[in-house]
Symmetry: C2
Subunit: 344 residues, 2 copies
């Protein structure tokens, strides 16, 4: 056991409460006293006991982050961004993996884990609009980047529809007309899913460009297949069926990387024969062969905003602000897979 406030107080020649006041930046402490206390803290290498503080004040300084899996690059990068943002604010982050399963997601929110997180950042995949009520919890909760609208909580997400539209417009600009979309289906049942929203953006872009929709270009993958394997499989199927296409819009980057892989195997040249654009701007797309164009949805900003918003909620007393949905700006990242020299 390390030194406690009592030890510090004794060394500094003050009361234990004064030590507490110094640590918590209570304004009315004389500079001299503050210095003596800080010196004692230094000398003893004192660290406050978070458990005790948490017990007394109801705050632990730890927030939770629930994501499907860190093995998915997008979520690893999101976690990185969240941890950085939280650290700047003096918070620790406990990471929980839900593996995208409904049960695990419900569990994560219901704070089945003994209560001691100050709040939770939650990136749901399986929960939908119908589960909104499950999100009504005592602990502050901020949703990240997916699904569930008009829920009872803040939601930091992305411009799914308009950025998808912009991505497809990018393909149209470079002269493509037969644009396949991978990862969505035309009559998906889940209106609020990223897939549906991005599909909607795709449809709008086509419509505005006066291109008629060809349903055979819309290629679903099972939700658990939003990865390289899924993207590759869908692409192979496209080719095998003899579908004519000159571009692919992959609904996320890992799908897109799978698409690139499959196109090489099928001896299809990128971007000459087929241009490819992904979604999310994960690091890997910078280094793929060819480098992959994509949509940067502002991941870092999402993380920063989400952490700040969660902190606000944690500090909120009584008068609760109505929940908000926040979407940072997006931008199209042009790289080799759509015929540009990658500059970033």
């Amino acid at each position: 056991m390390g030194p406690t406030m009592h030890d510090v107080a004794r060394v500094a020649g003050v009361s234990i409460k004064t030590v507490s006041n110094v640590i918590n930046h209570y304004p009315h402490v004389r500079p001299g006293t503050r210095d003596r206390v800080n010196a004692a803290i230094e000398q003893l290498d004192y660290r406050p006991n978070l458990s005790a503080r948490g017990l007394r004040s109801g705050r632990t300084g730890v927030i939770g982050l629930a994501v499907p899996s860190l093995r998915e690059n997008y979520f690893a990068e999101l976690a990185d961004a969240v941890i950085r943002a939280a650290e700047k604010r003096g918070l620790g982050v406990m990471v929980e993996q839900t593996s995208g399963s409904r049960d695990a997601e419900l569990l994560a929110v219901s704070s089945s884990r003994p209560r001691f997180l100050d709040g939770l950042l939650f990136s749901p995949v399986s929960l939908g609009q119908g589960d909104a009520e499950a999100l009504v919890t005592d602990a502050p909760l901020v949703l990240l980047g997916e699904r569930i609208f008009d829920g009872p909580t803040d939601h930091v997400t992305m411009h799914n529809m308009s950025s998808a539209q912009a991505a497809v417009e990018h393909l149209i600009e470079i002269g493509r007309r037969r644009i396949a979309i991978i990862g969505a289906e035309l009559d998906g049942d889940d209106e609020a899913s990223s897939a549906s929203l991005r599909l909607k953006g795709y449809l709008r872009a086509l419509e505005q460009a006066g291109i008629e929709l060809d349903p055979t270009l819309v290629r679903p993958t099972s939700m658990s297949q939003w990865n390289r394997a899924g993207g590759a499989a869908a692409t192979h199927r496209l080719v095998a069926e003899g579908v004519d296409f000159d571009a692919v819009f992959a609904l996320n980057d890992t799908l897109g990387l799978g698409v690139l892989r499959a196109l090489v195997e099928e001896k299809v040249r990128v971007p000459d024969d087929v241009a490819v654009i992904g979604f999310d701007n994960i690091d890997e797309g910078k280094y793929s062969i060819p480098s992959m164009s994509t949509v940067d949805t502002g991941r870092d900003e999402i993380a920063r905003i989400a952490v700040d918003r969660l902190i606000e909620r944690i500090n909120e007393k009584g008068d609760r602000r109505p929940p908000e949905t926040i979407k940072p700006d997006f931008r199209i990242v042009r790289r080799e897979s759509t015929g540009f020299v990658s500059t970033e």
Copy 2:
């Protein structure tokens, strides 16, 4: 605030201590009593307050994991494995990023973060043998996968040298003699680094095969360049200098992916002209073009063992076992980049 033990005790008609006993699986509780308590817990949706428990018992059920960055796939996958293993044991994991900087690493260990982690899993990059004493802390500490031998702590690591040797032997087996190694330098000052050890394996393999060392084939990258960019740059330099080589041993997989990328750009065929093998077996190597052979160092097992060992240390009373170094088995994963059809 949720219900407390007092509430449960009242509902179940027992003393608060009995509730505690039930929760902690104290053996001498009559089944009927246990059931009543459990029913009350269920009914009230009671969750123990971890802060209080932590204060009283000195345990929070949370361990720390300090890695350089989750953006590096290897560490993201390691974190995934650790979180899974910890969850099975009922522990939460707080993730801290050191960005590989010495200061941040020292900070992470010195538990600058207020004491409340039960223990720490630490994957150092910058700390070396000289910092061994800095690792003497009150809180249990287990090192993961890199550097520092004969330290004062348990160390779950990998067979750096012999697995590197096996990787190079694999290249020799398929007939390569001019094998470049990327990520190491011949007179590195840090004997305990992964780079040095893996280089040693490389040298041994050459020696046993009677191949003379050509120093121009040993290509360093700065430590902060163990990534795709570093691998690509080193490869481009190799080619630019007109060095003759028919294989590359990349000291980790991201370096290797950069090598693959650069070779394509240089119009060098893989594996026909140059075979490539990486190190670590990150997911991505499975899907690269071509898929990349590598060394599987038993990451999942490392995580599992490390968590178990940390738990043992946490539970240890007084009689401390001497620190151990544990290395799971490794194996060579043969994929397309060394001329095999990838089966996994």
